[in-house]
Assembly symmetry: C2
Homo-oligomer: 323 residues x 2
């Protein structure tokens, strides 16, 4: 276990040092000063090899992704991420692996000013658990259950790209050379929508991040909010990389059901749409209105060219469903 | 993965419901109200099958222990545990297993008024990660680095019992029938010293929990505090179960080097010893003064009958060192 002691020391390097951390790594636990006007946000996600990532994923991507999926949850609450704890279980203490893995961790933490305040390294099958914390002004958190009939449904970025990557890797498909890096990066280096969370909490009624797929995650919002929705599939934001990588009949399928994009889905009432446009203009994040919340509880209506859109949803296989 | 959805719903039962939890399980993240006068304490520990627990450990014990080791870290900071997040990776979705495991989780959480605010269940090799949070009045946290020369060194409970259990299980040794349950429970159902943490923060200069063994954990205190120490081995608190289960020449060995007892080690200045005795009297927790902090940095002197005690420390094999 001597090697694991070395790894522990490796992670003890804090990277970002925040003023609100009274004691970081190095004691039984971390001590943190939470501002009086804020609520604490807490989330945890585990990535298991073979379930959430392929065995040949680079350690740097794994480090990035383990943090990104947690920061995405914080952003989906309208919060600002602040601290993470990290638990890594490793089969062997491979110094090069650990170096690249922690580079992935520290890069994203530095970008978002997040401090690693605790960690645990153990020997065993490769598993990474990150517990992320964040802050949101009291009463401003965005819940899944806040959507109101009439709210407009927005998503950030483009949908389905990570699904194309999973499909290509699993089924050994060749992606168009021009788009390969973009598509794989969308799966391995997702961008948590942290930057816009601060503005979003002023205008949105509800929010969720798209980790399981649009239909599934919008379903969580509808269930928690006791609402229904209309989604116009011809308004779904598709990347050129997706449209040029998939047969046309699969475009909507992937955009509607593939997960792992970690884009945000949120709902905005009519009277806040102006404010949304103004505050979002300078972020450079693509925003698309894809539909509207309706009163009919639980009913999700898909439309294309204002006609009902029949959808079978069999094109995309979820990574975790059959691995 | 349908079964895993069921498990998620199983854990969604909150058990304890605390008023400071604005949103528990059921959204992207939990929202928590941290009192203005408190610092937040954060810790994470992972238990891996074959590394931290034996494959035949009962799921109830595993649930208990995964929470207990984290609450012990909170107590070692002088804090009160409040919320946990739970990540469980399971090979199969065995409903009976999950039922017993979560009974273990919820029993200890109920006892200490701790709410499960988040969780993640995934398929893979058996691993449990708990991230526990707690509160401590601002400025009152007990650090490893606070020991002062002259401080008296105390430990709670008895030392080495969990080590006897590990030794017996690993080497298939028969324990005395009278003591078997006590010894095994000390390993599988450790008691985090949460109850005394509140009083301890008023009298102690430093604290740590004994997870790696007395010598190792006292070493962390001495290193962080730039101090040395004298420990009188004939004052080490030994249970009757330990002394009747081990050959005499192994008693001190186990008490000094075996881990997993999750007792607290703390240091108290001379002028606070009276207050310690008064406030601790009604807790019913055994407290033993085993030595004193000295000025010589890093030097740990073991004594028996006031003579130097020679110690080779080869009797106890750590669970994790050769598994």
């Amino acid at each position: 276990m001597k090697e694991f002691e070395l790894i522990k020391r490796f992670f003890a390097e804090p990277g970002v040092t925040r003023k609100d951390v009274e004691m970081g790594i190095g004691d039984d636990a971390a001590i943190i000063d939470v501002p009086d006007n804020s609520h604490l946000i807490v989330t945890t996600d585990t990535l298991v090899q073979g379930v959430h990532f392929f065995a040949d994923m680079s350690p740097r991507a794994l480090g990035h992704k383990a943090v990104a999926v947690n920061l995405s949850d914080i952003a989906a609450m309208g919060g600002d991420p602040t601290w993470i704890s990290l638990s890594v279980t490793l089969p062997t203490a491979d110094e090069q692996w650990v170096k690249e893995f922690s580079a992935g961790i520290f890069e994203i933490c530095e970008y978002y000013n997040v401090q690693v305040v605790g960690g645990d390294t153990t020997q065993g099958p490769l598993t990474v658990t990150v517990s992320a914390k964040g802050l949101v002004p009291k009463g401003k958190a965005l819940m899944r259950g806040g959507a109101q009939p009439g709210d407009w449904i927005y998503v950030t970025g483009t949908l389905g790209d990570a699904g194309v990557a999973i499909d290509a890797i699993k089924n050994d498909k060749q992606l168009p050379l021009l788009h390969e890096k973009f598509i794989i990066d969308r799966f391995e280096f997702p961008t948590p929508r942290v930057a816009i969370a601060q503005s979003l909490r002023e205008v949105a009624n509800s929010a969720i991040d798209i980790s399981d797929g649009l239909i599934s995650d919008l379903g969580h919002v509808l269930e928690a909010s006791n609402c229904g929705a209309i989604v116009n599939v011809d308004q779904l934001p598709l990347s050129e990389a997706l449209t040029e990588s998939l047969d046309e009949h699969l475009h909507y399928d992937f955009a509607l059901t593939s997960g792992d994009d970690y884009e945000l889905l949120f709902t905005v009432p009519e009277d806040k749409r102006g404010a949304l446009d103004v505050t979002m203009a300078h972020y450079g994040v693509q925003l698309t209105c894809i539909g509207q919340i309706q009163g009919q509880t639980g009913k999700l209506e898909l439309r294309k060219d204002n006609e009902p859109f029949e959808f079978e949803g069999r094109g995309f296989q979820h990574f975790s469903k059959d691995s």
